[in-house]
Point group: C2
Chain length 360, copies 2
């Protein structure tokens, strides 16, 4: 086999695989990249047993053959090459990688022993890839990385009548994003870590979903991914979304983020990074206090609602997370000092964070 | 006390102090910043017992007073502030830090308990600050961070007839940089970690040296620094500088760095990252070999000297370090396959790396 491929495209493909394929494993086969050549190009694939990923790289190929090579080494070599074109040549158990004055010889692995990866060819439903990636990216922060209950480490995807919704929660906060979608899809829970990889590979175009037994396959023009789903019942998050809003404020999200970051410097790390929010007379006063002193910051807001004033407290870290997907103006909707608050983008956009308050 | 100071200048000063003052210490006093106010501005100072540092920040000050505050918190607060002007106000045991809508109250520490720091007012000799910083920065890599012998963790500064020289060595390699200097200075050894801080604070203008008992004080227009010197005899490094050059090559330093980086991907980490250098017929061939395969790279060079060819091996990491201060063309001077080689910038500049070869 001999292939000519542009360095940039090959490097991008290897970059995606490199994130999924482990660099070390008790099973060294798993650290390998499988390359299947056809006359149109190279299909790179790999797995970490949670996620299978496959990526097509257009190339000029003569005498197509398949082989496996150490994934991270090949990625590192290709990244380091000079020039724009890379030549790959397979001779016996050796893959030559050439560009400019460079000539690398990599030993190939045992192709027969490599676990078979299969990707479905039919699609059950289609979503817009960019919308899905943006939605997953907006709520990802609210999923836990450590929670004992598996569902808190996942992102739920719901298909509704004429839109789709992603939801994540760690039990203290809920993040929701709705986005346009049609078709009759299933509700399912994607592990947050697999969602991270999904976000990375999704670009423009369609994300075609195929449902398997406890698995979801996602296919785009460029990549194919199988991922294991989480079992279990996702908590009834709609119950905690406050229905009655007593006071609401609107202010630039950036100004609020900066001010929370500032006062949080003095917030007590051992007391949930507690930051007080006090609203009255068109002002939002933020305050924090710790061992070394106290901080306050005053911001002008547009205030509305039936109550003239409110005072409550949040974890500063959670406030910053909740604001992170919001650009432009943020709306903070308060239902009471001890009941959950809603943070969302002013003017809609489908994103909403629901946050519990800290005890007074 | 009340002071008005520009955020940028205060933040820069705090940034320098923040690197010296420990963020945690068994002696909490050491985590404090001392601020001495005068009508012209604020003198910020701190110590980690290895280095004392003091930095002057021009400010508009009323009723000057001195105080100590947690250094890292104050630096973090000032960095996070909006606006361009910061107001500091000392009331009793509380320092108020204000800007825009922000109002921080920091508890001050015990000024009387803070260790006295004294900086000399006379100078024994002067060097050009920028030249000194560049010279120290060029040889820093060759000093060891772990070596058992203290002198290998230091940088030697020598005053010669009409120039000064800095030298560092970890016993395997030597880095030297000469720079213009006059005056009758002493030879001394600065701990490499203190040199790192010195490099950071030196800018343009003069670096005035004052010699103490086992200490050196360096004063510039902006900062004053006391640092402890290393005792001991620096090795006779001049003995290892090869006198007779048998073959020499010239090539762009960047091309060589990139090629060494490339082939080093496959070099054996357990065998000193061994990279072979083979010169003949106006070509430099680099080669490396490890568990997963082998790599080679060919570069065009301008070749000179009495021998027609040479073959030797270096630690790739050491080659990259030795080339790091070299811009433009590099000259590699070889005295034999098993004797030290010299890497230096083509056209002079005072920098020279002397490297031992790896065994064949």
């Amino acid at each position: 086999m001999r292939a000519h491929v542009t360095k940039k495209i090959l490097s991008e493909g290897l970059g995606l695989l490199e994130r999924v394929i482990p660099s070390r494993s008790s099973n060294p086969l798993l650290t390998a990249l499988k390359v299947e050549a056809s006359e149109a190009g190279l299909t790179l694939s790999g797995t970490n047993l949670e996620i299978d990923l496959s990526c097509f790289v257009p190339a000029e190929v003569q005498e197509p053959q398949s082989f496996v090579v150490p994934a991270h080494l090949l990625a590192q070599i290709v990244k380091s090459l000079g020039g724009e074109l890379v030549e790959l040549e397979l001779t016996g158990n050796e893959l030559a990688v050439r560009a400019g004055g460079s000539d690398f010889k990599l030993q190939t692995g045992d192709l027969e022993a490599y676990p078979p990866l299969s990707f479905p060819s039919h699609a059950d439903v289609s979503l817009d890839a960019a919308e899905l990636a943006r939605a997953l990216g907006s709520v990802r922060y609210a999923a836990s990385n450590e929670a004992f209950q598996a569902v808190f480490r996942g992102i739920k995807l719901e298909h509704r009548a004429d839109f789709a919704r992603v939801v994540a929660s760690d039990g203290y906060r809920v993040a929701i994003r709705d986005f346009p979608a049609s078709g009759d899809g299933r509700n399912l829970i994607v592990p947050a870590r697999s969602a991270d990889e999904l976000i990375r590979v999704l670009r423009e175009g369609e994300a075609r979903f195929t449902y398997g037994e406890g698995t979801l396959s996602v296919t785009t023009e460029r990549v194919r991914m199988n991922l294991k789903l989480l079992e279990g019942d996702f908590p009834d998050y709609e119950r905690v979304i406050p229905k009655e809003i007593k006071l609401q404020v609107t202010l630039p999200a950036t100004a609020l983020k900066e001010a929370v970051n500032r006062v949080a410097v003095l917030a007590d790390k051992n007391a949930n990074n507690r930051v007080e929010f006090m609203v009255s007379g068109g002002k939002l006063l933020l305050a924090a206090e710790g061992d070394y002193g106290r901080a306050q910051d005053t911001l002008d807001v547009v205030q509305g609602g039936s109550e003239p004033a409110i005072s409550l407290a949040f974890n500063a870290r959670h406030v910053l997370d909740a604001l992170s997907p919001i650009e432009g103006d943020a709306e903070l909707l308060f239902s009471g000092s001890t009941s959950p608050a809603i943070f969302r983008a002013s003017g809609g956009g489908g994103y909403m964070a629901v946050m519990v308050t800290l005890r007074v």
